[in-house]
Amino acid sequence: MDLKEIKALLELIAKNGLAEFELEKPEFKIRIRRTGTEAVQVVTAPPLLPLAPQPQLSLPQPSAEAAAPAAAPAPSTVPLVSPMVGVFYRSPTPTSAPYVDVGSEVREDTVVCIIEAMKVMNEIKADVRGIVTEVLVENGKPVDFNKPLFQIKPL
């Protein structure tokens, strides 16, 4: 399942006014939940069997009548969540400048922070092109799995 398919799925769900949607296949699981009115959270587990063929999505086609005219607006910013439990660092060393700040433009492979767990320094990539609009965690603080770290406005 690639980004394009996820995007198509998101549009479909927004059109139908669904609050939550879950699809589970042997190779992957995706859950999309609308929280509030503007933010859409996407939680997706990577395939356990990377070599398995990607199945075609068999979504029920929405009927024309079901398309709600008052669909939720497209999300203006997306959260970048922590992929792990650890300690959040905004810069490579205590004295150096932060990797990114509010207003920084990031690409998919831009390092935005380090999360330290058991002396493994994990450089976290933005995974999206956009502008950082918010830094949500203070330097040196512990973070949990899925804790939002930044808000990024996709470009």
Binding site: V85, V87, M118, K119, M121, N122, E123, K141, P142
Partner: protein
């Protein structure tokens, strides 16, 4: 790199360990690559069909930096960068690591493990156990049998209660998974007591000092040690391959049994500066230390420095 990094300080004494002499490198080439063991559930599903590919330096700024740069340029898993000296050795959060010329061994392994980010800390146990075994083997082969390297949580390598080595792992996370990880291991091999800066002289040691102590010899007067860094490197590569192919539960058991922190009353300085006191009670399956404070509450510690 056009800029020349500052040179590592030379050792004031000579060691007989000509690290990358042709014979030594030939011996190294005989050591095999990391073939998968028969075990069906290795600690890390790593695409390790390749043998180790080794880059040897007399001196470089930082072996981790070289390996990370190679990783970004697409180097495959299995790259090993080894140096006899580092001019800009690093520890956690950019701290300097004392790496004088001629005394230590600095090695970085590039891996591309099929690991979720949430399991990245397994690499710590894999690296710490591999390094501890390699150090024990080198000591035993050099006349110091029975010395057991201990692991101070999470990954300091201690011999006779003093720090003889350290590990710094740097991983790149893309989409919740590790795209590559570099495991850097620094081991003090030939250092004498006065090779360490004064602030480390009570807490640091080297394999040579440990050998001298084990043989009852006077530590300072030892003319040379029989240790060979190229042998230590070969043992590191073998043990790293072995660690990667060992089921994680087996590895964790050894990590725990070597962990000198467990069961002790400790003080931890946490990354935000606060101190936590209590008993180091357990390690969970991700390697997180559980500390029980005086009021019986359990704290899960992911990072910090054990002060004593």
């Amino acid at each position: 790199m056009t800029e020349q990094p500052p040179a590592a300080p030379p050792l004031p004494h000579q060691v007989a360990d000509d690290i990358w002499c042709p014979d030594a490198v030939l011996a190294l080439c005989r050591s095999t690559g990391p073939g998968m063991s028969a075990g069906s559930a290795p600690a890390v599903e790593a695409p390790m069909a390749c043998p180790w590919q080794v880059l040897l330096f007399h001196e470089t700024a930082s072996t981790n930096d070289v390996a990370l740069r190679e990783a970004v340029h697409g180097a495959p898993a299995g790259l090993v960068v080894a140096a006899a000296a580092q001019s800009a050795g690093r520890g956690r959060q950019g701290r300097a690591w004392v790496s004088p010329r001629g005394a230590g061994l600095y090695v970085s392994f590039l891996l591309r493990p099929a690991l979720e980010a949430a399991h990245a800390s397994r690499l710590t146990a894999i690296a710490a156990v591999a390094a501890a075994r390699a150090m024990d083997e080198s000591l035993a082969a050099s006349g110091g049998p029975g010395i057991r390297t201990a692991i101070k949580w999470p990954n300091d390598l201690h011999v006779h209660g003093r720090k003889a080595g350290g590990i710094l792992i740097e991983a790149a996370i893309h989409g919740g998974r590790i795209s590559h990880a570099v495991i850097g291991i620094g081991i003090n091999v030939h250092h004498r007591r006065d090779d360490f800066p004064p602030e480390l002289s009570d807490t640091a040691t080297s394999l040579a000092l440990a050998l001298a102590l084990a043989s009852g010899g006077e530590e300072r007067g030892e003319p040379s040690s029989p240790l060979r860094r190229v042998e230590l490197l070969a043992r590191l590569m073998d043990n790293m391959a072995n660690s990667l192919a060992t089921p994680f539960e087996t590895l964790r058991a050894e990590w725990e049994s070597r962990c000198s922190t467990l069961g002790r009353t400790i003080t931890i300085r946490q990354p935000d500066g606060t101190l936590l006191q209590g008993t180091a009670a357990a390690l969970d399956d991700t390697g997180v230390l559980h500390v029980e404070d005086y009021e019986g509450r359990t704290h899960r510690v992911h990072a910090g420095e054990v002060l004593g």
